[in-house]
Symmetry: C2
Subunit: 282 residues, 2 copies
Amino acid sequence: METIRIARVMQDAVLKARGRSIGFVPTMGALHEGHLSLVRTARAENDLVVVSIFVNPLQFGPSEDLQRYPRDLEGDMEKLQALEVDYLFLPEPEGMYPQGFCTFVEVQGLSERLCGAFRPGHFRGVATVVLKLFEIVQPTRAYFGQKDYQQSLIVRRMVEDLNLPLQVVVCPTVREPDGLAMSSRNLYLSPQERRAAPILYKALLKGQEALLRGQRQPHRIRELMHQVLRSEPLVGEVQYASAYDPYTLEEPPVLRGSALLAVAAFIGRTRLIDNLLIDGLK
Amino acid sequence: METIRIARVMQDAVLKARGRSIGFVPTMGALHEGHLSLVRTARAENDLVVVSIFVNPLQFGPSEDLQRYPRDLEGDMEKLQALEVDYLFLPEPEGMYPQGFCTFVEVQGLSERLCGAFRPGHFRGVATVVLKLFEIVQPTRAYFGQKDYQQSLIVRRMVEDLNLPLQVVVCPTVREPDGLAMSSRNLYLSPQERRAAPILYKALLKGQEALLRGQRQPHRIRELMHQVLRSEPLVGEVQYASAYDPYTLEEPPVLRGSALLAVAAFIGRTRLIDNLLIDGLK
């Protein structure tokens, strides 16, 4: 595995690979089994695999956890080496956003809903850095986790709207045995909070159960999911928890065809998100 | 010359050309000698030449001239054929902006100055369509005219900020014998207005003369340029006319190193722009 820190050097490396397919997994590091499942899929489907680790300051709000975001470069590199990654792209913030930087990519509408309503500017930061990384790595396929469903939807929309010549692949959420979706932010949880955290998944399962029982009114599902969340004393603010149209991320009057069950809530000081996509609703 | 109307078909065509350099000239058609000089330069510097003709609705304001913008596809095709262009990309608005389109590229700061102050959203529309065209055509080099100086500055900034793997080439403004900068919009001018139109260039020359005489205060140059413009009765609103920092597009207290003399003014109902870049100021 070759580690590259400079955008231009990365571009030259992939330029030399012309004709070979490139699988790309953009990450913020602190790699867990969710990331590694993306890397394995990328490895199976492409000639070359590039992973980036970049804790992107542009997608953090001023009161968010940029400074304390978990970092474990040594552990990450060992894991990627073992999966036979070809290139690790490891840029510095100053290289990605030099003085005078002033260009931003915005996916309007989708970026303002769900997490976007609570994290203004977050998805603008995501879209901008993902486009930059795509330009640097020139992937054939880029891999994202379904755990960040809204992010993957926004990236897909950007790729389509801007005619980017690549394929977005969204891979299933990887869960701990007790159902908690894997996330680098799970490292923030105290042992007690960690035991409480699967409540998000339980709320999703309650929503799924209602859907499968025939419930089609989002506000009824929302009530059920909030009930489950309120049953756990360590749950703080619930930012959202309901059933949404998976394309618009809005609560429709009546669910049809498919539904996104999604939740964002604090366990102690840690904000966690999770979702389930339910297809084939009659 | 092959004419292509579908983005995906265009992408496939350039994909096949891998390894060969691609020169790209994006235009809105009604081609004049200014455009053709870009095409000739692209022809001389690249293996393949792609020209696009697309009157981009996203860069026109609601009260602007989108509907009456000059169109001459047959004449344009003859000219491009004669210059041995390989591909003409001729998309439809519905193909470029299908239903649900919601992704925009914004170069902040630069886009709000000069023309941007009078045409809100214009440069967002320009940046967005130029990025889309770059993704579709995958050029090695893209050619722009200095007549649209602010546009070329914004495109350069976007290319740098987003790590686009291509070179932006800015070619000199081509002028009529009386100094009028070539522009498709010159076709709007009545014979009488056409005779008055070189007043923009005369105002620039007056500013240049002052600079070369040692004048370094923008507000003095602004006064001189406005004096020249006011001497012509057919000049209507003068949107701006002064000396600017060529990198920030702002009037500095004192000019140093280089200056952009730039003007936007109406001749009758027609809005015209022009500029001169003066280097090597002591």
